[in-house]
């Protein structure tokens, strides 16, 4: 029997689908949890409400989708199969269990003791992911730029989840006397700046040129950004853990800003060289995400310099929603149809008419979703930056929930697409 190398290398659709479906469910839950943040944005920011939302959104949605995407993309980028698919399944179920326990602990006072147990399970599941990725890399003879980004990201993940575990044990059992505020920030820098951002920077160099058909662009900037970002993240994490002065923290955080700036300029270069000129929901989401990153950096810098907390919150909101959510949602519209198509329709190629990938998305709904999300993010950024919370915040949260609902509808549309729908 003829076996395609593509089938041997790529993980089964059902594995990646596990991560994508769970990620979308957690996105819905985080949209609901977002309503509870109305008080947090007005004052103390590291509350249990915030922790529940942050874990639902960042671990449940952002990282879940990244795990799934990495299982799909690593074999393509590295031209080597994932070390173990079984590890990936074990990781998934442990991750969902551990994360659910943590979120319950953060949400209900009576379940507070679940946090350390959930934390340990989540930690172990992430370690399994890291080991799986490290062993996949171990078998490689040479490493390309994207590989370097993904490997560095995974190392940061291993380090920052270890910090998270220490914090979880300290909350539950008073294991260590640590400054929770500084450790939370080091943990966030490692997870968001180290893992999430480095994965995004790496895969952007595959996905953006691939979907936009961009060629012949200068890619030196993304090469320069790599060491700068690594040094910036390591020194920023150390600065928070060892409670150094804000002068030093500002200095090392500016290295991270510098690398992100290089990444942004690199993306502009790629987009300028794109052949496909259609302004579809993918390119709109990608461009909006990149613009949000710019404004996020500006607002966070302003917030730190002027000690205006609401600007820093608005910058953080733009990073999490304007950048990450739009970037991921834009790519879900491309990756999910591909995964479903690959599983359901690729065996039928040459035998009967099969759909094109864009036909597996309800484009009208995708457009409504895209614009409603943009309006909601702009609105909420203003609301948070100028501290006009209450009803205006709830209106923005409702619009985001509506938009996320449309994302879920389109995911359902893609999963259930049949040839007779053509």
């Amino acid at each position: 029997m003829k076996v395609s190398l593509a089938t041997e290398m790529a993980p089964p659709f059902v594995l990646v689908a596990h991560f994508f479906i769970a990620g979308l469910v957690f996105l819905l839950l985080s949209a609901i949890s977002f309503f509870s943040l109305v008080e947090d944005f007005s004052g103390y920011f590291i509350s249990f409400h915030f922790a529940a939302f942050a874990h639902l959104y960042l671990l449940g949605f952002v990282m879940m989708i990244i795990f799934g995407a990495m299982y799909q993309l690593l074999p393509v980028v590295l031209e080597a199969p994932i070390f173990s698919k079984d590890f990936a399944y074990i990781q998934f179920y442990m991750y969902v269990l551990g994360l659910s326990m943590m979120v319950c602990g953060f949400t209900f006072d009576t379940l507070l003791m679940l946090i350390p147990y959930g934390g340990v399970i989540t930690y172990l599941s992430m370690l399994i992911f890291c080991i799986n990725v490290f062993l996949t890399f171990y078998r490689l003879e040479k490493l390309n730029l994207i590989g370097k980004y993904l490997l560095s990201a995974t190392i940061f993940l291993a380090i920052s989840v270890t910090l998270g575990l220490i914090m979880g044990l300290s909350i539950g059992h008073g294991l260590f006397e640590i400054s929770m505020n500084d450790w939370v920030q080091a943990h966030m820098i490692g997870t968001i700046g180290g893992f999430v951002m480095m994965v995004v920077m790496g895969v952007s160099m595959v996905l953006i040129p691939m979907f936009s058909l961009a060629h012949n662009f200068d890619d030196r900037l993304i090469h320069y950004a790599l060491p700068l970002h690594i040094i910036g993240i390591i020194s920023s994490m150390l600065a928070f853990i060892f409670e150094l002065s804000w002068t030093y923290k500002g200095l090392v955080l500016s290295l991270v800003c510098g690398s992100l700036l290089l990444y942004l300029i690199q993306m502009i270069l790629v987009i300028k060289h794109r052949v496909r000129k259609q302004n579809d929901y993918w390119i709109k989401n990608s461009v909006f995400a990149l613009c949000s990153l710019v404004f996020s950096l500006i607002l966070m810098t302003l917030g730190i310099i002027s000690d205006k907390q609401s600007f820093a919150f608005a910058g953080g909101f733009l990073l999490l929603f304007g950048f990450m959510l739009c970037f991921i949602v834009g790519h879900i519209y491309k990756i999910l149809p591909f995964l479903v198509w690959y599983d359901k329709f690729s065996p039928l190629v040459g035998k009967q008419k099969v759909p094109l990938l864009h036909q597996m998305v309800d484009t009208k709904i995708a457009d409504i979703q895209t614009w409603s999300m943009f309006i909601a993010i702009f609105w909420l950024s203003v609301v948070i930056a100028f501290n006009i919370l209450g009803i205006p915040f709830v209106i923005g949260a409702l619009l985001i929930a509506f938009s996320i609902g449309l994302v879920l509808y389109n995911a359902w549309y893609t999963f259930t697409f049949r040839i007779k729908d053509l």
Partner: protein
């Protein structure tokens, strides 16, 4: 006798599902050499790291093997010269750009 034209015709049934055009119109086929019952196809892909890499290679091979008289087909993927839009047909350029 196998003709290059027949091979190109058969390969042009292979559609890239992302862009919606056949791979001949996209200009991904660089060379087709026919030696008796053996066909050698030199081709590229629009991007390195394309998740459809192996599938498109497999579909191309299957398309060539459908041509009457072909006993053996070899597909060679090359990255030089790198594909660019000027290699595509006018119809593709007009639709994409």
């Amino acid at each position: 006798m196998i003709t290059q034209e027949a091979v190109y015709d058969s390969i042009s049934t292979v559609i890239d599902p992302e862009v919606g055009f056949d791979i001949v119109s996209l200009g991904l086929i660089y060379e087709v050499n026919v030696h008796e019952a053996h066909v050698h196809v030199k081709m590229t892909l629009s991007t390195k790291g394309c998740p459809l890499h192996e599938l498109i290679k497999q579909w191309t091979q299957e398309a060539v093997e459908k041509v009457e008289g072909v006993q053996n087909c070899e597909i060679e993927i090359v990255w030089e010269p790198a594909w660019n839009i000027s290699m595509a047909s006018d119809r593709v350029k007009k639709a994409l750009c």
